[in-house]
């Protein structure tokens, strides 16, 4: 394939977009709507997951040891826990640290009466943070079987709720995106099919004077890809420009929830959204036009 032929097909693809203005714009608008919704959905999901992740980071499992256990045994248990794949971080809290924290939190000035006495002397513990809250039950089952561990405290409800909420959001977003993709594919396919039918005579002439299948077909595929590219770039730009404003508005409006509402910065969101959005747009254009050309363009 010579460069001049490639340039020609590229130029023809761009010309097709302009020649077929109305339908090209309609397809671009549809793809733009799809990618815009996808972008919004992605922002919501990414931020929600970020908030869940932040909340998950606070979910921990606490283990207490048998009475009279030695420091060496505690250290050994700690090493076993750290080796587990579910574990992200382990904090050791000695009996003294536990007592001091308790005094500070609940007794305040009345703690003086206890002096050197530590009612929590058997309350040394490991505070275990998980990589993923969905792994909690597996870890708890394991911990309960370890010798020297008296009690395992866990926050079953929080872990389960976060884990299932996370999955639910994933499933819903996946479903909506699939529907949007199907609509976009259908519309771009219609635009290309229309272009083919309008140019049937021209295609016949091209074949008569020696155009190969590649030369006949590729401008339509390029047309689809250009529509996809423009259709995805516009909403992505809109989301990029509007993201910060929206976040600031939400933060101001729901100030009371500022400890829960933690948002990703636009740059972090776009690290994924930009390439995925563009690839999706171009991909929809490519798949839609390629499929249509194979179906409708018998050269």
């Amino acid at each position: 394939m010579r460069i001049s032929t490639l340039l020609y097909t590229l130029k023809q693809g761009l010309k097709n977009v302009i020649r077929n203005k109305v339908f090209s714009l309609a397809s671009m608008a549809t793809i733009a709507a799809c990618i815009f919704l996808f972008g919004l959905f992605y922002c919501v999901v990414a931020n929600f997951r970020y908030m869940v992740k932040e909340a998950e980071a606070g979910v921990s499992v606490t283990v207490f040891f048998d009475e009279g256990i030695s420091d060496e045994q505690i250290e050994e248990i700690g090493n076993l826990i750290k080796k587990r794949v579910e574990v992200d971080k382990v904090n050791y809290i000695s009996a003294d640290e536990a007592w001091n924290e308790f005094k500070e939190e609940y007794l305040g000035e009345y703690a003086d009466g206890f002096e050197n006495d530590n009612p929590l002397k058997d309350s040394a513990s490991y505070e275990i943070y998980l990589k993923d809250v969905s792994m909690q039950s597996a870890l708890v089952t394991y911990l309960e079987s370890v010798d020297g561990i008296r009690q395992v405290n866990k926050s079953e409800f929080t872990a389960d709720a976060l884990s299932s909420l996370n999955s639910l959001v994933g499933y819903i977003s996946g479903g909506v995106i699939l529907i949007l993709l199907a609509v976009a594919l259908f519309l771009i396919s219609n635009t290309v099919a229309l272009g083919i039918s309008v140019r049937k005579e021209e295609i016949g002439i091209m074949k008569l004077i020696g155009a190969t299948d590649f030369i006949v077909r590729s401008p339509f595929i390029i047309e689809g890809m250009v529509i996809g590219l423009i259709g995805s770039a516009i909403p992505l730009l809109g989301i990029y420009l509007g993201y910060d404003k929206l976040i600031n508005y939400i933060v101001e409006k729901f100030n009371i929830l500022s400890t829960i509402l933690k948002f990703l910065s636009v740059d972090i969101v776009f690290e994924t959204l930009l390439p995925v959005g563009l690839i999706m747009g171009i991909g929809i254009g490519f798949v839609g036009s390629f499929w249509t050309v194979r179906r409708h363009l018998k050269v």
Binding site: S4, I209, G210, T212, D213
Partner: protein, 233 residues
């Protein structure tokens, strides 16, 4: 070797079976390089089918076809496109120009398909438009030209890539007598420059302008003779 077209025992059968139509029935034909041949026949005689075979637009049901020494009987679609682009310049009754392209762009098209660079393309396209007397119409679209002018653009397109064969399918069919004469003159001029011209027609008067006349009836060649009255342009 001087043979351009070598057809041996070609048959073309449509709808094989009970309702089969035998458009070409064991046709054998040889055309040498530089010949000016008219293939004449009435509607339904098989001349268009023969033209489709000669122009690599269709493949025979049986028999063989060698164009410029290459067997083109069973090539793929893309290979046939390539042969059409390199070996044959087409002129059609309905001109077959692309409506939204200018005369220059229409002439340039087969050169683009051939991968000719921009500068060379421009030179060749202008040269062929000049040859058919349309240097002053290069920016005009088909709708802005008369039938005769459109057919001259089609001829310029056919000769731009300098193919060895010009295949003209009833090129004067849609033209008045003045334009028809002009087109035949151009074809004769092309023949004089050494090109092989194959003219398909149902008009005896047009066929009489060629040096060799082949008559086809019911898919069979019934007459093949040299025209003594042939006059060079």
């Amino acid at each position: 070797m001087n043979t351009l077209v070598q057809i041996e025992n070609i048959c073309k059968v449509y709808n094989p079976g009970e309702n089969e139509v035998r458009a070409l029935d064991h046709v054998s034909l040889q055309i040498d390089k530089g010949e000016f041949v008219a293939i004449i026949g009435q509607s339904g005689s098989g001349k268009s089918t023969l033209m489709n075979m000669l122009g690599c637009l269709d493949v025979p049901s049986s028999g063989s076809y060698l164009l410029n020494g290459e067997d083109v009987s069973f090539l793929t679609d893309d290979e046939l496109s390539d042969i059409r682009n390199k070996e044959i310049g087409f002129i059609f009754q309905g001109f077959n120009l692309i409506a939204n392209l200018t005369a220059f762009e229409n002439v340039e098209l087969p050169l683009i398909y051939r991968g000719v660079g921009k500068r060379e393309r421009k030179e060749l396209a202008l040269e062929s438009l000049d040859m058919v007397g349309l240097s002053n119409r290069i920016g005009h679209k088909p709708s802005q030209m008369s039938g005769g002018q459109q057919q001259r653009v089609a001829i310029a397109r056919a000769i731009a890539a300098k193919p060895p064969v010009i295949l003209a399918d009833q090129p004067t069919g849609n033209l008045d007598s003045g334009s028809s004469k002009e087109i035949i003159k151009i074809l004769k001029r092309l023949h004089k420059t050494g090109r092989s011209v194959i003219l398909i027609t149902h008009d005896n008067e047009i066929a009489a302008q060629a040096k060799r006349v082949i008559r086809i009836v019911d898919g069979k060649i019934i007459e093949d003779y040299i025209n003594d009255k042939f006059m060079e342009e």
